[in-house]
Subunit: 399 residues, 2 copies
């Protein structure tokens, strides 16, 4: 495992003989592996194909071994999850012209990104994670992408605080209890919009930390991640971070769009989704080990630095324990690198000396409110919110 | 200026008719601009050409308008400065196999990156800046790249603390006063190595914060930035952060390589470089405004968010003042976004309402030790260390 040839390649480099020649001495093995992969969709073709598991043109997962230790997840390898086909890339060519409609404020109106950029700028680091991250560990037959750990990443976002925007429009209208974002995807003709549209409501408390973002990790927001404008609600599951944001409304009730009313609801296996069930809003406390590698890997005996990531939604993660014996005994890991704030993940490391044998490496995080990851997943129909530490473990063979 | 079409392109997309077709509706204007640019060298062809000023195949500068507000500088747009032709990209294909020779320790030996990864891991955010950043503002005829502000960036690096490495080798040998890094570039046959090699000595005090890095911004270190292994000395000018690090020595004296003995020395105009002159080690306190745009630009009247970056070498930057009248009056700017630690830059913002007219926007930073940027550059032969705030100003026409 430690001798894997490391070739970072973009898909464009594997298109043909001339393209292969351009990249120089890429190993045959790496090319063969890339050839086996599904291709990246055009809107994400600038990503590093080697670092991703491509489930479909709308669902791409970061490989566990591709997460580095430098805190942020580079946009090149950040997971992608689109509920609908994304709009044409041309909507990002003049990002300042993009219009957002504000509703449910005292002075509702349309406003362009260009105008917003003149009103303020704030920057926040947050974990973005799909509600179904970890679905691949459930044993019942769940529909949806079989993500393991890689439908998550930690990025730095820049944009305008929603609070600033709302204040400029006279404040939230009386009686409003939810913040509702609507995506700018094109709804196919003849389809009932409510059934497929991306429109999500979150409690009004999310207003204080939310931003409407036009930049990620120092670069203009690409279509793959919601450009030209995305609602970023730090600490909330990905689906609430509405892409191509075309309307932001403050509403008395949650939207009746399917994605809210019946989708993203935690319910027993076999039950249908409905509004009384918990919605996928704030993320729970979670961690996993990224190194040394995939489940079932092997390394040589000796010192090892076990490292991984830990986060806790809107709470700050404060502690990570690591076990090499599947949870029978635990040691506190050390956080490394800069602390990017309460919504970001922390990188943790535990140095261990491992002799020959079989090990099961697991990690267990605790947040500032005293919440700790449970041992097991909470069984639920759609496989949402998995933060059980057992399933996230890595079996390691030490030679 | 605010209606510029924003097309992020990699060079590979402008190679010919077929390539142009692949990128979709790129504007003719953008293509024309890219066609005028010098090409990216092969080892950096994955960078965003639109965000760079390409001085030569060894010197690429980030455009002032390309710096975002999300604190870190993405590697895709980070400046490049090589003193020699970089080694073949293949040296990064198996990074763990790269060998470093440790000298001037009690138990000197060679060690691979793979071994180092087992010994520890730490992550540090730091500004990397060329000693000559700002050289383009000097009025005397300086040789070297005519950088303005873009030979700098803030990145997160991961690797092994040099202190850990040295401890494992029995500690620094008695009497050593410098830490000397040697680059792995290939010296052309027939050339006197000492005249061209990249070998830099820094004071032993740098040992405590230095790391030998194999990762930048969450990705394996590419050749363009010193992969597979780079010496990263937080807060020190770029040249000391030796790429393709093949030897790290603790020495009683500074190396006599030209790059140290006579190069990177601050001296009066017309003087030759020699070892008694100050060497380019710790960076001084500095800031500049990145938005709204290049010197001489224009915007419409109204509210604006003036933003830029500030840093202070090994000291923490604590304050930034901004003036819209060329330094006659000042207002404190606000820091935004996460604080990545003492060596990183901070993003600052000052909201202002500008009526029609001409403005000169400047910024002035102060560090934790009370050092403040001077008004003017300190004249010196090679145009090093420019942190005068006046030259870094932006003339802005407000319509």
């Amino acid at each position: 495992m430690e001798k894997t040839v490391d070739v970072r390649r973009r898909q464009v480099l594997i298109g043909g003989a001339a393209a292969v020649a351009a990249v120089g001495s890429v190993s045959g093995e790496a090319l063969a592996q890339a050839a086996k992969s599904k291709p990246l969709p055009k809107y994400a073709e600038w990503k590093y194909i080697d670092s991703l598991i491509i489930h479909s043109s709308n669902t791409m997962e970061t490989r566990r071994t591709a997460f580095g230790t430098s805190v942020i997840t580079p946009t090149d390898i950040l997971f992608v999850r689109n509920n609908l086909t994304p709009p044409a890339e041309s909507i990002t060519y003049d990002p300042d012209a993009w219009e957002l409609s504000l509703q449910g404020v005292n002075n509702p109106r349309r406003i362009t990104v260009g105008e917003m950029k003149r009103m303020g700028v704030e920057t926040v680091a947050t974990v973005l994670q799909c509600s179904g991250n970890g679905r691949g560990f459930f044993k019942h037959k769940t529909s949806g992408s079989q993500w393991k750990v890689g439908a998550a990443g930690c990025s730095i976002w820049s944009g305008l605080p929603v609070a600033t925007l709302v204040k400029a429009m006279g404040g939230v209208a009386d009686g409003m209890k939810f913040m509702t974002g609507t995506g700018g995807e094109v709804i196919p003709a003849g389809v009932d919009a409510k059934k497929v549209m991306v429109e999500r409501s979150v409690p009004l408390r999310a207003l204080e930390s939310a931003i409407v973002a036009w930049e990620v990790n120092g670069e203009p927001l690409p279509v793959a991640h919601g450009g030209p404008l995305r609602l970023v609600i730090p600490g909330y599951y990905g689906v609430n971070n509405v892409k191509y944001l075309k309307q932001l409304g403050f509403t008395a009730k949650e939207t009746n769009a399917n994605i809210q009313a019946s989708g993203y609801r935690v319910r027993d296996i076999g039950k249908k989704g409905e509004p009384s069930q918990p919605s996928m809003w704030e993320m729970n406390v979670k961690s996993w080990i990224n190194h040394p590698g995939e489940d079932g890997g092997s390394v040589n005996a000796g010192m090892l630095q076990l490292h991984g990531v830990a986060f806790a939604g809107v709470n700050r993660v404060t502690r990570v324990e690591v076990s090499i014996d599947g949870g029978r005994s635990w040691k506190d890991a050390k956080f490394i690198g800069p602390d990017l704030g309460p919504y970001a993940w922390r990188q943790f490391v535990l140095p261990v000396r491992l002799e020959s044998g079989s090990y099961t490496l697991v990690s267990r995080a605790t947040d500032a409110k005293g919440n700790t990851q449970p041992v097991d997943r909470v069984e639920n129909h759609r496989g949402y919110g998995h933060n059980g530490w057992k399933d996230h473990g890595i079996r390691l063979n030490v030679a």
